[in-house]
Structures are given as structure tokens and as C-alpha cells.
């Protein structure tokens, strides 16, 4: 499909069964590129923000075809609990 035409896969067929929230998974993947050690961050909060702000339009990019399946803006209830 798209990769055959030298274009990236945008996930338009929706998330796979293994993924609960595709956008969060992508942000997690991107964050793994940040310079973080096992014990503590080598970056301060401001530097992390600056780095993450390089990702323009994260909602449109990472959730383009998967937002309806995402738990974002939904209520998660504990099983068996009313209300």
C-alpha cells in the first residue's frame, strides 16, 4: 500500500488489536528517543518540553485514524462499580 509508493504508513486501517491507544504508543516511542537514563532524566522539565514541542500537531499525526478507539475523552469505569 502506501510504503510501496514511498509514502509512510499513517495507520488508516485503524490500530491493531495489540494497541489500546495508538497515539499514546507513538508518543511513548518518540519519548524513548529522549536522553533519559535508567535512574533519572539528564534533561530538566524545560528541555523536555522544548524537545517534545518539536512534534508538531501530535493529535493529527498520531491519532489521525485512531482517535475513535482511543480512551481519550472517555470515562473508564471500574468493573462492577455503579455510576
Amino acid at each position: 500500500m502506501c510504503p510501496k509508493a514511498n509514502m509512510p504508513c499513517r495507520g488508516c486501517m485503524g490500530p491493531t488489536k495489540a494497541v489500546t491507544d495508538q497515539g499514546a504508543s507513538m508518543l511513548s516511542a518518540v519519548s524513548s528517543l529522549l536522553n533519559i537514563t535508567d535512574s533519572e532524566s539528564m534533561l530538566n522539565e524545560e528541555q523536555i518540553m522544548e524537545m517534545m514541542m518539536q512534534v508538531k500537531d501530535p493529535l493529527g499525526t498520531f491519532y489521525a485514524f485512531t482517535l475513535p478507539k482511543s480512551p481519550l475523552r472517555r470515562t473508564v469505569k471500574e468493573r462492577g462499580r455503579k455510576g
Binding site: C2, A5, N6, M7, K56, A64
Partner: protein, 504 residues
């Protein structure tokens, strides 16, 4: 095969309101409301488009280079048209001149789109009215009924050549539906020699199929005096409007690139403009009873659902294009264009053809042109070059126009310095035709329904008045500036209106 059923028995209705919902054999949704006066004659009619999309809102803030992929989701029939208009808009936004190879590949891909789309409309959506007849039982008046009537071998040829159009789009564009190859200044995929040869073979077959379709149109439609009578019925299917379409420097019809020409009711050129000038030419009118806007010529003005030189209503699509052009660049399409002009000249028409049902004839001529142009481009061995991307610059603002199968298609974007979309405006083929379509429905209803006498066949003949435009209401209702139109009517206990609130 039994002959087509042109007329059926009417019944007298006491109803003052006739609703056709949903209307059928179009892309998207729509309904027609016909209001009768006390004598049972038509006082007015409306073609309402109850869909809501919203692309012009949710595309704001997206990466502008993603718009060819996002906006092509406007439609499942003509995504290629949106992809091409969008990619051309990106050429302008990024001030990027596509390479010659990229231009050829885009146009070749686009001829695949025309082949698929025009076959789909003529054979699946329009043919039931002509092969089976406008008054044939509705359970037969569909594509399966057509295949049943003409036979499986012809049906198989139809499906095969539509699939060729899709295959060409898939090879060049990456996907048959919702393509991805358009980039500012070029395309993403180089074509191999094997793929070129495969497309050349398919294009040769499409040229032959174009000939077959034109012959079929002559044999089934033009040779039938009842159909000719319908086409020439100036009471039901005739609007004297302006026309708009794309042409090259010799005023030959073009689909991928060129200037946009507008002619008046006599065929005289009103204006020829570049994409970047469209806002000087076109304005949009909004009616409270429908989600689709109604563009009109700014210099003439909106005068309501009336035609003639004082009304800015114009028509696009196959009839618009054939009326603004002075022929085609390929021999078989040009020959049929000359036959078309000669036929109408013999009927006393020397300027534009205002007969609404002539859309169908223009469409089959364009199917022939698309096949021939596809073959010209597929035979050109230079299309396998790796020179598929041109240089580009920081993004700003730009407009891209192409001729969608249903008419002139305009995409206009602006970008911030990060490449995120800050403004998007689209004037879609079907939207251009909406005012004329509604006027056509009113005209047909008034001409065909009298004294409350109606029938399924008569109502289908009213539908034929819009169907020939091949409307795509999914595309046309792409925007509503944010919120749904809402009207709240507060009534007193006796039913009279106390207060009306609305947000449009």
C-alpha cells in the same frame, strides 16, 4: 431485450407535499421536496442536501503536506480529483514547480480516475434510465437490471474497464482509492518499464471501450426518438446559464492543468482566469434549508434560482467543459465533439448547449478523451524517469485547481512557518452545480407534474434532472464553518409560532 419503459400510469394525489427521500443513483445523500398548489400543480421544489462533513474545520492545524491524503477522504469515487487539486495547491504553497515527469505521471493517473468515474456514472447510475427506461419498475431500474438487459459479457467489459482505470491509479498513485503519491513539486513513486507497458496495454483497451460506449450512446439513446424528445424537452430539461471549465492555450478541453474559462449564454467568453484569481470570480450564497453552499459569478451576482444573463448561476462538469472548450486534443474525442456540434447545429443550436440531459453525451465524449490521453501518456517512455521531485521553498499560501469528473475543483490553503495549515477553502465540483441542480429539479417538477397526477416514473424523471449532473453530495458538503445549522421553533398550544431561533 424488451424495449425501455418511458411512461407509466399516473395516480391522482391529494397530498400537497411530495418527498423523494432518499434520491437515488448519486454519490452521497439528498432528498427532493415538491410542494403542490391547490390545483395540484407544482408551486416549488427543493433539492436538499442533509449531510454534514466539516473538513474545512478539522484540517486546520494539520500538517499542510498531509492535506492531499486527508482531503481525498472527502469522497470514495473522486478521491483522485481531491488529491490532484490538493497536490497542485501544495505546489503553490511551497512555490514548487513539478518536474516534467511528475506532471505526466499526475495526468496519467488522473486519466485513470476519469475512466473509472465516468464509467461508474454512465453505466451504473445513468444507464438504468436509458436501457430500462425512466418508468421501468424501480426494482429493475438499477445496475443489476442493466446487466440483465444487456447481457453478462457487456457487463463484464464495463467492470473490466472501470477496473483498468482503478489499476492505473493504483500503479501511479500508490492506491486505487485514496491515493498517496502527490508531493509539492512532484510525486513519490517512480514507474518501472513493466508498469508503463502494463498501463499502455490497459489504455489501448480503454480507447476501444470508449468507442464502444459512444456507439452504445448513439444506438440506445440518440436513436430512440422518445429519449431524444426528453433531451430536447426545453420545458423540463433546459437552463440558459453561464458555463465554466478548464482549457489549454488553444481553448481545448483540459482536466489536469490550464486556465479556467467562463462563457455566457451565447458562448462569448466572460473571463479566463488563473487559480490564484478564483476569489475575484466566484462568491458563495447560503440558503437556510440545506448544508451545501451555492457559488455564483461575483461580477453578475446572486439573483435567486433564475437563469439568463442577469443571474450568476453557472454550470460545470461535462456540459460546462464542452460548452467552454473549442474541442479536444485527441482525434476520436474531437471527431465525436464535431458530431455533437453538428447534431445540435442541425437542431438550430449554434452556441452553448443548454439542454441539461446533454451532460450524458458530453460525459461519454470525455470518457473517450480520457482513454486516448491515457494511451498518449502511457506510451511516452520518458515517464519512467527518476526525475520525479522538484525543488520547494518554505510554505506560504496557494491555490490548486483541476477539473474533477463532476466539474471545476478548487483547493486553497495557507500555512504557518512550521508547515501547519492555518486556512483552507474548497469549492467542490458539485457545489458549483448546486444552484443549477436545484433550478433543474424545480423546472422538471413544474413541467412534469400537473393536477396532482404523479407516478414513480414521473418522479424518476424529476430525479433525472439532477442525476445527469452526477452530483457528489459527500464532496459538496465538506464544510459548514464549525457548527451544525440549528433552528428552534417555539409554538403556542394552538400550534402557532411563538418564536423562532436559529444560528445561521
Amino acid at each position: 431485450m424488451a424495449g425501455p419503459i418511458i411512461n407509466d400510469a399516473t395516480v391522482k394525489t391529494k397530498e400537497r407535499r411530495i418527498t423523494i427521500d432518499p434520491v437515488t443513483r448519486l454519490e452521497g445523500h439528498g432528498k427532493i421536496e415538491i410542494f403542490l398548489d391547490e390545483k395540484g400543480d407544482v408551486s416549488n421544489a427543493y433539492m436538499q442536501i442533509p449531510e454534514l462533513r466539516g473538513f474545512e474545520r478539522f484540517c486546520i492545524g494539520r500538517h499542510v503536506q498531509e492535506l492531499p491524503v486527508l482531503t481525498n477522504r472527502l469522497c470514495g469515487v473522486c478521491p483522485a480529483a481531491h488529491h490532484i487539486a490538493s497536490t497542485k495547491a501544495l505546489d503553490a504553497v511551497f512555490n514548487a514547480e513539478p518536474t516534467p515527469t511528475a506532471k505526466k505521471l499526475r495526468e496519467l493517473f488522473y486519466m485513470g480516475q476519469y475512466t473509472h468515474s465516468h464509467i461508474a456514472h454512465f453505466y451504473a447510475l445513468a444507464a438504468p434510465d436509458f436501457v430500462l427506461g425512466p418508468s421501468a419498475p424501480s426494482n429493475k431500474r438499477n445496475v443489476l437490471g442493466v446487466v440483465d438487459a444487456v447481457g453478462v459479457p457487456i457487463g463484464a467489459e464495463v467492470i473490466k474497464h472501470r477496473s483498468f482505470g482503478q489499476k492505473v491509479q493504483e500503479i501511479v498513485g500508490g492506491r486505487a482509492t485514496h491515493p498517496v503519491f502527490g508531493l509539492p513539486g512532484g510525486v513519490s513513486k517512480q514507474i518501472s518499464e513493466e508498469e508503463r507497458a502494463q498501463m499502455e496495454d490497459m489504455a489501448k483497451s480503454c480507447v476501444e471501450f470508449g468507442k464502444f460506449t459512444i456507439k452504445l450512446f448513439h444506438d440506445v439513446v440518440l436513436a430512440n426518438k422518445d429519449y431524444l424528445g426528453l433531451i430536447l424537452n426545453t420545458d423540463a430539461y433546459y437552463l440558459e446559464t453561464y458555463y465554466m471549465g478548464m482549457v489549454d492555450k488553444n481553448n481545448k478541453s483540459q482536466f489536469y492543468d490550464g486556465d479556467i474559462r467562463v462563457v455566457d449564454q451565447t458562448g462569448k467568453q466572460v473571463v479566463k482566469f488563473k487559480p490564484s484569481e478564483y476569489l475575484d470570480i466566484i462568491a458563495e450564497h447560503v440558503e437556510p434549508w440545506t448544508y451545501m453552499k451555492m457559488p455564483y459569478l461575483k461580477s453578475v451576482g446572486w439573483k435567486g434560482f433564475v437563469t439568463g444573463p442577469s443571474s450568476g448561476i453557472y454550470r460545470v462538469g461535462p456540459l460546462g467543459r464542452i460548452n467552454v472548450c473549442e474541442g479536444y486534443t485527441t482525434p476520436l474525442a474531437q471527431a465525436e465533439y464535431e458530431a455533437f456540434r453538428k447534431t445540435v447545429k442541425d437542431l438550430g443550436v449554434t452556441g452553448p448547449v443548454h439542454h441539461t440531459l446533454a451532460y450524458h453525451w458530453a460525459r461519454v465524449i470525455e470518457l473517450q478523451y480520457a482513454g486516448e490521453r491515457m494511451l498518449e501518456l502511457a506510451k511516452d517512455k520518458s515517464i519512467t524517469s527518476d526525475d520525479i521531485r522538484g525543488a520547494f521553498n518554505p510554505p506560504k499560501e496557494g491555490v490548486g485547481i483541476c477539473e474533477a469528473p463532476r466539474g471545476t475543483l478548487i483547493h486553497h490553503y495557507a500555512s504557518d512557518k512550521d508547515g501547519l495549515c492555518t486556512k483552507i477553502n474548497m469549492i467542490v465540483a458539485t457545489t458549483n452545480n448546486y444552484a443549477a441542480m436545484n433550478t433543474s429539479v424545480v423546472q422538471a417538477a413544474k413541467a412534469l407534474i400537473h393536477n396532482g397526477e404523479v407516478s414513480q416514473g414521473l418522479l424518476n424523471k424529476v430525479e433525472m434532472a439532477f442525476r445527469c449532473y452526477d452530483p457528489c453530495n459527500s464532496c459538496g458538503t465538506h464544510a459548514l464553518n464549525g457548527a451544525p445549522a440549528l433552528q428552534v421553533t417555539v409554538r403556542k398550544a394552538d400550534g402557532s409560532v411563538a418564536k423562532t431561533l436559529r444560528n445561521f
